[in-house]
Symmetry: D2
Subunit: 329 residues, 4 copies
C-alpha cells in the first residue's frame, strides 16, 4: 500500500515532512498547498509534486492523508475540515492554543472517526525512544522520577513569541508530552517557577524565558523540567528516568564526535545548534509511524488527546506561576 | 602555628575528622571525648591522643579548637559551652533541628565572638569547589539555573529516620547549602513535592524518601533539586550551573575508572556506594580549611548563619509539601 | 549540472551507492548492470533506472560516470575500459590485489586523462573528516603519532578470506589509507606482527586475523595500527592524532546514545555492528564528493595513486611479517 | 606486626615513600639516610624519624626493611648489601641499567633468600589493577591484544636524559612491565621504531623522545606501546586489553572532574600534570603491598626477576631500532 499525501504549508517544517515523505517507500507526495505561491512551487519542484489549493486537496480522491504545517491558528479548522473529508491527518503541535477549542476539535475527530496524529516529534527520536523502550523492558523497575533538561540554543524573535502562546504552550509542551510518555501515569499536580533571565523583551511581551516545573502523579511519581530559551553550547536535550532498579538517560547529541586535547583541556564540539538537525531522524521516524498507522489501521499515537493533555499541563503551569501555588488537575 | 584539637565524639564521622587532623601538618589531635569508653580508647590508640571528658577539654589550656561529632541534640549546647570557653568550633551539621534553638545558639556565638564553622562538607569536594570556582571566574556568565541531583545508595534504618528531622532537614539540607553556595543570591521562594516511593516504613514514620524542589531568588534565578533515598547504581551526586555564557557541571565519581565492553555494551563500574569514600577528599579539605581559618584569623565559612539559612529552607520545603503551595521566605 | 550515472554491480555495496546517487539532487541513476539478472532488476525497480549491459553503458551517450562495484578481479579491466570510453570512474577499493596490475591500470587512466576516484569511504566519515580538519587547522600542531584501532564485529566467511588478498590488502588497507590521510608525510618504513587468534580456519587459509603495524615517515612520524577480525562489542573504529600542540581523537559510534545504570554499573549499548550502518554518512558524502569532483572539474581524491600507495603498504606489511623485519619503502 | 623501615634517599620519591610508610598503621619509619644532610634532616623532621648513615641502617637491629631511593647507579650495590644484612628490600626501578649487573645482583638476592620488591608502581594503580582483575576474572576471555599509550607531560632535563639509560630503559620500561602484567604470556619478539620529534637536544644526547613498539608472545598475543616525552594535555596513561570476549580499558585520570560548556564546546580539564599526583594511590598501595609481603611472608611481586625481564625488553627494543628488525628473545 502506498499512502498518497497532501501537504498543507510549505514552510520550514513543511519541507522537513516533504523530504520524509519523499524518502519513504510506502508514501507518495501528491500535492502541496501554500498561500505563498513561491514556497509552494519551490517545494513542488524539489519533490516533483503538484500545487493545489486546500480546497482541491480536501476534495481530491487521489489523496489519502494530509500533513498540516500551516500557522497554528488554522490547525483546528483544518483538522475538522479534513476529518470530515475522510482524510488521515498528521498535524503539527499544537492543535490550538485554547483548550476549549482543542476539545471542540477533538469532538469532531471523534465523531468522524478520523485518524489524527499530533506532531510530538521527540517521541520518535531514536535515543528518547530507546529510553522509553528500556523503561518498558523493566530496566529501571518502577518509574519514580523523570528529569528533563531542555534548552534552546537561542531565543526566538519577538514576533514569534507573540504568536507562540507563551513558553509553556510553545516549548515546555514538548517536555510535558515527554513526561507523560515516560512517567507511566498522568500528572495530577503541577508547580512552576518562571522568570525572565535571557531577554528582557520576552518579559515585556508578558512571557518568560526560564522555567522550572515539578509534576507529580497520583502514586507520587515526580518529574522535573528545566527550560531555558538560550544555551550557548547548543541544543540541550537531556532526559533521564530514575526507578526502583536503576536509571536510564539519553545523552546529548552533536554532529561530530571528536575531542581535541591540549593545555586548556579536552574539548568536544558544541551540540547541534538547530532543532532540525538535532531531530532529523525523529522527523523521518515520525512520518514513517504515521504512514504505518494508516497502512496497518492501528491507533494514532501521539493522538489528539495527547495534544490536549500536554496543553492542559501547560495551562496549569502558567496558572501555577501566576498564583504562586501548586495546581491540581 | 599548630592548632591543638579536642574531638568530641569518636563515632564514624569522628574517626574521619581524627584522621584528617592527624594527617594535617598544621594540626595536632590532643584529646578525644566519648561517652562510650571503648570508642574513645580505640580512637585514642589509633591516633596517639589522650582520652578526656568534655569538661576537661572545655577547661584545657592546651586545646585551641574542638570538633563536635556528638549526636545532633547535643550540638547547640556544646557550641554555646565551647564558644564561652573561647575555643574555635567546628560542628557537624545540623546545629539543631529547631530553627529557634539554632538562632539562640548563634546569638551566643556572636556575643562571644567565637569562631564557628559548620560541616557542610560538600563545599570542599574538589569537583564541586571547581564548579564554584568556574562560576566565580565567570565561565558561565550570570548564573541562571542550578540543577542538583542527589541520591543516596540506600535508605537509612528506621531509627535514624526518626531522629533525623526528616528528609529535608537531613538530606536535602546539603543541597540547600549547595544551592546557596552556587546561586549567588538567596532563595526567596521554595516549592517542594514529596512522596514515599522507596520504603513504605519511611512513610509510616511521617517522612518522605523522594523529593523534588524548586528554589527561586529575587532576580529570578532558579534551582532544581532531586533527591531519592535509594539509587541502585551508587551515590549519585551531580551539580550543574547554567548561566548566560554557558554551563559547568560536576561529574559523578567512582572508585575505579575502567570500562568493560562486550556484546552487552560498554559498562563502567557503579558509583561510590558510601558518602565517606565519595567525600574522602572533601572531609580532609574541610578540616584543612578550618585550621586555616584559625591560623589566619579569617571568617569561618560555611558559618553558623549558613547552617541557619539551609535549615530555614528545609523548614520551608516541608511547609510547601504540607500546604501544597510555594513558600515565600 | 546533473551527473548521469551507470552502476556496475547491484550487490550490497552497489545498493549503497545507488541510494546515495538517488538521494543526491545533482545526480541521476540512469542504468544498472549486473550479471545476476535478479539483482539488476530489483535495484532498477527500487530506484527507477534502466537495466543495461556493461557494453551498453560503455557506449551510452547519456551516461557521464560509472560506479564500479563488481568483484575485485574485474576492477582494473573495467577502469581501463571506461577510462578509454571517457567516463568519470568511481571504483570500490581495491583496484587490484596485484601491485603491477594496478600500476598498469593507472597508466591507462593517466594516458586517457580519466577522472578516477577510489572508494576509501572512511575519509568521508564526518568524524574522521573532522579529525583531519582539526589537523589541517593546526589544532594539534605538527603531527607526530597517529593511532588507529580498527576491529570488525566478526570474521568474514572462509570464501571471502580466500578472495580477499589477505587481511593487509583487505582490512588494514583502509587504515593504511587513513594513516596516509592523517600523517601528512608518506610512510617509508613498515613493521607488522600478525597472528591467528580469532579463527583457526583463517590461519589454515594462510591468512591472519590479528595484526599490529608500525609505520614511520622520513621525519620520524609514527603510526600504530591495531586490527582484529572480531570485536564482541561492535565495529571498533578509533583514530587519534598526537602532535606538538595536542591530540585529536574520533570517538566510536553507536546507533543509540543511552546509558542504563544499576547495581552492575553504567552501561551504554554496543557499537554499530555493521560497516554499512557505521558508515552510512560516509558513503553518502563519498558519492557527493565524486559528483562535486565531476561537476567542478577538480582533482579526484582519493585518487588511483592513493589506492596504489595503500596497496604498496599492505604488501610491505605482509613481507615484514614473513621476513621478521622492517620493510623500507 | 609493625614493619620498621629505613629509608635510603630523601629526594622526591623518597618523600613519597616516607609519607606512605607514615600513613600505614602496620609500618614505622625509624630512620632516613641521605648524603645531603639537609634533605635527610628535613624529611626526618616531617616524619619524626632519626637520621642515620647507610652503614648504621645496615647494622641496625631495629630496622626490618629498607626502601632504596638513591641514584640508580647505587641500586645494585645497596640491594646486595642489604640482602646480606637480612633486610627486606624495596628498590625503585631500575635495579641497574646493565643487564649483566642486574643478573649478578639477583644471584645475591637468591643466595641470601632476601625479600626484594621492585618499584613498578603502576601495577598498584587502582585503575590498572582493576583492568588486571577484570582480565583475571575472565571479563575479556582470552587475552589477544594489549594497547598501552603512555605519554609524559613534558621531557626531562638533559642531565636526566644522560643518566637515564635512554627512553626504553627509563620510560618504556614501565610499559614493558605493564605488558607482561597484562599479556598473560612472556613476549618473545620485539619491534620498535623511535625518533626525535619533541626536543632536538634529546637526539643530540643519542636518545629518542617518541617511540612505538610491538611485542608478541609465543601464541601470537600482541602488545602495542606508544610513548612520547611530551603531551600538552597532561600525563596520558591509557591501557586496554582486547580479548576473545571483549575489551577492558582504564581511562585517563584528572584531578577535577568538571566540564564547562559554551559556544566553543564542552571542555574538561587537562589530565594530571605530574606522575606523583597521577600515581598517589599507586605509591601508597605499593608500599602497603610490600609491608603485607613482609608481614605475611608471601612472594614479593613485582620481583627482581620482573625488573630483569622488563629491562631485557628495553634492551631488545633499542637493538630493534638500531638494527631495523624484529628482535627475538
Amino acid at each position: 500500500m502506498t499512502v498518497r499525501f497532501g501537504l498543507l504549508g510549505a514552510g520550514r517544517i513543511g519541507k522537513v515532512h516533504a523530504k520524509a515523505i519523499a524518502g519513504n517507500a510506502q508514501a507518495r507526495l501528491v500535492a502541496v498547498a501554500d498561500a505563498f505561491e513561491q514556497a509552494a512551487s519551490s517545494l513542488a519542484a524539489d519533490y516533483g509534486c503538484e500545487i493545489r489549493s486546500i480546497d482541491e486537496i480536501e476534495k481530491a480522491s487521489d489523496i489519502d492523508a494530509v500533513v498540516i504545517c500551516t500557522p497554528t491558528d488554522t490547525h483546528a479548522d483544518l483538522i475538522e475540515r479534513f476529518a470530515r473529508a475522510g482524510k488521515a491527518i498528521f498535524c503539527e503541535k499544537p492543535i490550538d492554543l485554547d483548550l476549549s477549542r482543542v476539545k471542540a476539535c477533538l469532538n469532531v475527530v471523534s465523531e468522524t472517526n478520523a485518524v489524527l496524529m499530533v506532531g510530538f516529534n521527540r517521541r520518535f527520536d531514536p535515543h528518547f525512544a530507546a529510553v522509553r523502550k528500556a523503561v518498558d523492558d523493566g530496566a529501571v523497575g518502577d518509574v519514580e522520577m523523570v528529569t528533563i533538561i531542555s534548552r534552546d540554543p537561542g531565543a526566538p524573535p519577538a514576533e514569534y513569541i507573540t504568536r507562540s502562546g507563551g513558553i509553556f504552550r510553545d516549548m515546555t509542551i514538548h517536555d510535558f508530552d515527554m513526561a507523560r510518555f515516560l512517567l507511566g501515569e498522568e500528572p495530577v499536580a503541577v508547580t512552576a517557577h518562571a522568570s525572565v533571565l535571557v531577554d528582557r523583551k520576552i518579559g515585556e511581551l508578558g512571557d518568560y524565558d526560564s522555567v522550572s516545573v515539578i509534576l507529580s502523579t497520583a502514586s507520587g511519581r515526580q518529574c522535573l523540567i528545566s527550560n531555558s530559551r538560550r544555551a550557548t553550547y547548543g541544543y540541550d536535550q537531556r532526559i533521564e528516568v530514575h526507578g526502583s532498579k536503576g536509571l536510564v538517560a539519553a545523552e546529548n547529541q552533536r554532529a561530530v564526535s571528536i575531542e581535541i586535547a591540549n593545555g586548556q583541556g579536552y574539548t568536544r564540539p558544541p551540540l547541534h545548534d538547530f532543532f532540525m538537525t538535532r531531530y532529523t531522524e525523529a522527523y523521518a521516524n515520525e512520518i514513517a509511524a504515521f504512514i504505518e498507522t494508516i497502512a496497518k489501521g492501528t491507533r494514532a499515537s501521539p493522538s489528539g488527546e495527547d495534544g490536549l493533555a500536554a496543553l492542559a499541563l501547560a495551562d496549569a503551569a502558567l496558572r501555577s506561576v501566576k498564583e504562586g501555588r501548586t495546581i491540581t488537575l
